[in-house]
């Protein structure tokens, strides 16, 4: 099969409120190739997690997909009836949630939770499912898994629990794993291990990853490409090293400038003045314009994602750049 694994086009997510629909995601388009790691960064409320939820079809009312399309291996998955949606998505997309405290059922043995997930997607018996669960616990690095398989989540530490959650996300052997801030709830000392584990395991099982985080360091280490989100839109998308070395969008430039470095002495960290607009008050043109240091007349109009080489930036500054249209962005 050719073409990207996941293709999101002009995705629009709205929340019905008493004052009318609130647009939380607007014109979000990106692709994820097979086995590729796409990092998604942005401030809180930029729509990172919402994009993930929309893809796996777990948007709850009042939220709904109001436009655009999502294709997994070429097949549209955003408008399927619920029963069919469950069949398609469950096994092909795995999710690693942010908080390992709540993503495991506290009253179910971890072995049973793993076996339940495995059995939901493979026609195998209880004993086989248990053997596979054991193998997965070993693979994610749980010490003496034979003993731990009958443990309850509260008997595990946060890092160990997140390992179980990773096993849970991968055990149905999905093609795509959505990791929603997988390290935010963990100790700094464990974060690197968990990130390395996700990276190695997904590579070994040839799964693509959509890594949602606000940690640029994690992205730089792990991702192949990055999408920078701002106010429910993609500000910039591109190959990770190029994007970090030479950010195109003024928002990305601001983000990069805000990262402290060891070799430049500074008393005060750089910051982007102002705050992200509320969803009910997104400016008509470019959402970043009110905070942008390089704002000009053109910004009153909403910029499309303009292709710059292999990359894309939603900024009029790059309008004149050679339009090497790339199907991926």
């Amino acid at each position: 099969m050719t073409g990207p694994l996941l293709s999101v086009r002009a995705l629009r997510v709205e929340f019905a409120t008493r004052k009318g629909p609130l647009t939380a995601l607007d014109g979000v388009s990106f692709d994820i190739g097979r086995g590729e790691v796409l990092g998604v960064v942005g401030e809180s409320g930029a729509g990172k997690s919402l994009t993930g939820l929309a893809i796996i079809g777990l948007l709850d009312p009042p939220g709904r997909i109001a436009g655009g399309e999502i294709r997994l291996e070429g097949e549209r998955i955003d408008n399927l009836p619920p029963a069919r949606m469950r069949d398609i998505r469950g096994g092909r997309i795995g999710v690693i949630f942010q908080d390992p405290l709540t993503s495991l059922n506290p009253l179910m043995r971890i072995g049973d939770q793993l076996a339940e997930t495995i059995q939901a997607h493979k026609a195998i018996g209880r004993r086989q499912a248990r053997e596979q669960a054991l193998a997965w616990l070993r693979e994610v690095g749980i010490p003496s898994p034979e003993k731990r398989i009958d443990g309850y989540p509260h008997e595990f530490s946060g890092g160990m629990r997140q390992r179980v959650v990773i096993a849970l996300a991968l055990c149905a052997e999905p093609k795509l794993v959505i990791a929603d801030e997988p390290t935010t709830a963990l100790d700094v000392s464990v974060q690197a291990q968990i990130i390395a584990l996700i990276k190695n395991l997904t590579r070994r099982h040839r799964a693509a990853v959509m890594l949602i985080t606000h940690d640029m360091g994690v992205i730089a280490e792990t991702a192949d490409r990055v999408a920078v989100m701002y106010a429910g839109r993609i500000a910039e998308i591109g190959e990770v090293r190029e994007l970090i070395r030479d950010p195109l969008h003024p928002y990305t430039q601001g983000l990069m400038a805000a990262i402290p470095t060891l070799d430049i002495r500074a008393d005060r960290l750089a910051q982007i003045p102002g705050a992200m607009p509320r969803l009910s008050a997104i400016p008509r043109g470019c959402a970043f314009a009110p905070r942008c240091p390089q704002v000009f007349e053109r910004c009153a109009e909403r910029p499309p994602l303009i292709a710059v080489g292999d990359r894309g930036a939603a900024c009029w500054l790059h309008e004149s750049a050679p339009a090497a249209a790339d199907a991926r962005n």
Partner: protein
């Protein structure tokens, strides 16, 4: 109550014996920590066992006319002057041994208590789960019905249901169906509490990531509700059920006392008290006193156990 305790014991060490596991168990330790709770536990256990094994424990069968003689009627307890040593707690107007009648009555009271709590909990928990999980108009419909029912006192609801059932049934079948009617009436008057509690807990649990994960792997709603959410909302249900057991026994006694409960041929504690109070002013105090004391002891003990369970299962009070 061991089913709540089970998840807290460490299952990863299967080589430990049950006694060792019990000793390390928080719930069990908190039970032993209070003398009142232990006393309540012992009283409850003794009464439960006495009721369960009434046919073997009771000195006579109070319902067998062949062994009851009217010449023995209204004998005072054996420890009082004029008492007959055969009847420890005296006899009633039919010549029935009070001790035996109380044991059999306890059996009936407890059976009605347990069955009506089971019925109320089953209805309430199911409706609460459905209301909390589905939300929207289903939630509103169920909870408004619950609100309406809550405006009637439980005893009134039970009386009403009991009255309707009696009106519908033929007079000949009334006595046989009295037991089932009581269970139904009491059970239906107590479901609201379960529904409200379970609905609230379900709304909390359904937004947890493990429920999202279960939805994602394609489990059916029923499966998610009953295997994932239900065990996580059962803690408060156990507390309510324990306290409701005492309430249900009291309600049954009240209904029987009022004469709409069980017939004198199949007496519960409440029926015995009703029969006994006719003789209170003619000096035969034992007919009303001993069933009343038994009822009070049972209800107090079960309530104390309920209080302990409520505190022991409340993480904020640990």
């Amino acid at each position: 109550m061991s089913e709540i305790a089970a998840p807290r014991t460490s299952a990863s060490e299967p080589d430990r014996t049950l006694i060792q596991r019990l000793r390390d168990n928080d719930l069990f330790a908190s039970f032993l920590a209070s003398k009142v709770t232990v006393a309540a536990g012992i009283v409850t256990l003794v009464l439960f066992l006495a009721a369960l094994f009434a046919p073997w424990v009771a000195p006579t069968d109070p319902f067998n006319p062949a062994t009851n003689y009217l010449s023995d009627s209204l004998d005072p307890p054996s420890f009082v002057a004029g008492g007959d040593p055969r009847f420890l707690l005296g006899t009633d107007d039919q010549g029935r041994d009070m001790l035996s009648a109380i044991l059999y009555g306890l059996r009936v009271s407890l059976a009605i208590g347990f069955l009506s709590v089971a019925l109320g909990a089953a209805i309430g928990v199911s409706l609460g789960l459905i209301a909390g999980y589905s939300g929207g108009w289903i939630d509103s419909a169920i909870m408004r019905i619950a609100d309406v029912q809550l405006t009637f006192p439980a005893i009134l609801t039970a009386l009403l249901l009991d009255g309707v059932a009696h009106a519908l049934l033929k007079p000949t079948s009334r006595d046989e169906s009295a037991f089932a009617v009581l269970v139904l009436a009491i059970g239906l008057s107590f479901w609201v509490q379960y529904a409200r509690t379970v609905r609230a807990s379900t709304m909390v649990e359904k937004s947890r990531d493990y429920v999202l994960a279960a939805r994602l792997i394609g489990l059916s709603h029923a499966r998610i509700l009953f295997t994932h959410i239900l065990p996580n909302v059962m803690g408060p249900v156990m507390v309510i059920a324990t306290i409701n057991l005492a309430l249900a026994i009291i309600t049954e006694a009240t209904l029987s006392f009022l004469g709409v409960g069980l017939p004198p041929t199949e007496p519960s504690l409440g029926t015995l008290i009703r029969i006994g109070q006719n003789y209170l002013f003619s000096g035969e105090w034992w007919i009303v006193a001993f069933p009343s004391l038994t009822l009070a002891a049972l209800v107090l003990a079960v309530n104390l156990l309920g209080d302990w369970l409520r505190d022991a299962l409340n993480p904020r009070l640990r």
